[in-house]
């Protein structure tokens, strides 16, 4: 099977099989793309309440593919992010990126509890597997716009193709109700970082939601503190120094002049 550009989908994994199996889980597929079609090396981002349980369900279905020569590599990145990668003949076939909390964006601040809003307001699409209808969950229209906006802001400098998200948003917000809904939610859940924060993010190389290291954060905090500490010291010196100079003069005056 090919897409509109004539490129071939891989589809060695039946994504319907996986999402049929996780139908009892609470989740949202962030970017549906050509679901259930995918390109070799493709991925799917899933927001869910319990990434460990979700990963277990993926493995449950994955066992079926082990007989077909697949290997499943699981990486528990951190407390809120896990990757389940399917490899065939040593090459990545498909990745499930499971997020239990929002990935960290560097060029826009998104309130952490936005993930719950995305999950709880999900829209349902109906699909079929093995003759049985089942639901998959995708972001609501407004959340779709907001997530695309975040993706655009995060990446437009490095990936000019991300302008497609802006085009999509501009088309979608043509109606007043959508525009108002989108802006309301955007204002509620996002905040632009300070300019030095944005400048720092220019230096990043790659990585959607890449975290700034603890050392980096501590160092920048320290650097920010240095001028403050210096000024505080200077202020103290300026206050104390005149007194120290004045006191001997005062004493001299008392002893020699007034006496």
């Amino acid at each position: 099977m090919t897409d509109s550009n004539g490129m071939g989908f891989s589809n060695r994994l039946d994504l319907d099989r996986f999402f049929f199996h996780v139908r009892q889980q609470i989740y949202v597929i962030v970017k549906l793309g050509d679901f259930p079609d995918y390109y070799k090396g493709g991925d799917i981002d899933v927001f869910c309440y319990n990434k460990d349980e979700f990963a277990k369900q993926i493995l449950n279905v994955g066992n079926w593919y082990l007989d077909k020569g697949f290997e499943i590599r699981v990486t528990d990145e951190d407390e809120s992010h896990a990757c389940v990668d399917f490899y065939l003949d040593g090459e990545l076939e498909f990745r499930f990126d499971l997020y239990q909390s929002l990935p960290r964006y560097e060029r826009i601040r998104l309130k952490q509890h936005y993930i719950y809003s995305v999950i709880e307001n999900a829209s349902v699409l109906h699909r079929e597997f093995d003759g049985v209808q089942y639901p998959i969950y995708v972001p609501s229209a407004v959340d779709e716009l907001l997530l695309r906006y975040v993706e655009y802001i995060e990446w437009y400098e490095l990936r000019p193709d991300k302008v497609k998200h802006l085009d999509y948003i501009l088309n979608a917000v043509a109606s007043d109700s959508t525009r108002i809904g989108f802006l309301d939610k955007l204002h509620l859940y996002t905040e632009l970082p300070s300019s030095d924060f944005r400048d720092a993010s220019h230096h990043r190389i790659s990585g959607f939601g890449r975290k700034e290291s603890w050392t980096g954060r501590a160092l920048s905090k320290l650097l920010r503190r240095i001028p403050k500490v210096f000024l505080r010291r200077l202020h103290r010196v300026l206050l104390v120094l005149p007194k120290r100079l004045y006191r001997p003069l005062e004493r001299y005056y008392e002893n020699h002049v007034s006496g």
Binding site: D52, L59, N60, V74, D76
Partner: protein, 304 residues
Amino acid sequence: MNSRAAEYLRKERYDYFLVWGNGIPHKEEILGIIRSTESIEILRIMDHRPRSVARFVRKVYSYDYAPFEHLKSKTRYLLRTEPVVFLIFVCNKRPREIYRGEGAFRHIECELIKSVSEEIRNRFNPRKNGKRTEEHVVHASDNESQVDHMLKVLGFKNGIELLKNVPNPILSSPYYLPKFKEFTIKRISSLQLHCNILRGTRESFRKEAVEIEKTPHFAFLSGDTMFYTEYLAKFLSGPLASDYSVQEFRALSRDFAYLESSYATSYILVREFRPGRYIVLDGVHRVSILKFRGVDSFPVAVIK
């Protein structure tokens, strides 16, 4: 949810049973009672030979709710018992916690643990004139701080963290493995697998990697039950701290269905020790059963 709330709402807790010297002859039956208790999973069994029973008794009761002075007369009989104890650390999956006692000694304890230890005492405490004496064969924990204390007394400096260790949140894995972030599920041939088997004596032992067919486990399945029975007798509750038994292994070999239903992610855990060669970290019994059944390749989780 903050961690305090999560801690409060969690569904399971850890406990221990301590079989005193006067209960050692009934060790197997006591284990059987605990093993058959629903919602209690035995995690670790171990023998301990305290240098001084008196000091050990004092240490055990130093974390009790009543001051030791109050317990002195109750525990005097222990000074006459064999200077050896047997400890069973368990995961209590459905604790029934209640408050007991009044005033300063009011405390929380688990009804389930209490009922199991009472059952053991009813059966094995010494009897006088047909009545159960209060010379208890078993002591059990009331709360996790006592478990933590006991493990520290036994020399595990991390205390209860030893049992609470979750090596990986996605993969079912025993607490005694170190934490790991990555693993690969793949199908490998049984010929690529080796199992660590203990050699030597209980006091001085070493691990040796052998092929599956050379394990006492495989021998047991092939009809040579003595090799496995002697192996357990030699090392169990010493270097072998997991709860193994002939009966359990027999039942497992009969009913075992690898990665079926609720065990779909209970993979055999291995580590690659040479290119294309793997050592079993958890699952020697299961590997032996599969091999004995003639299964030549099966999925395993390779831990990095």
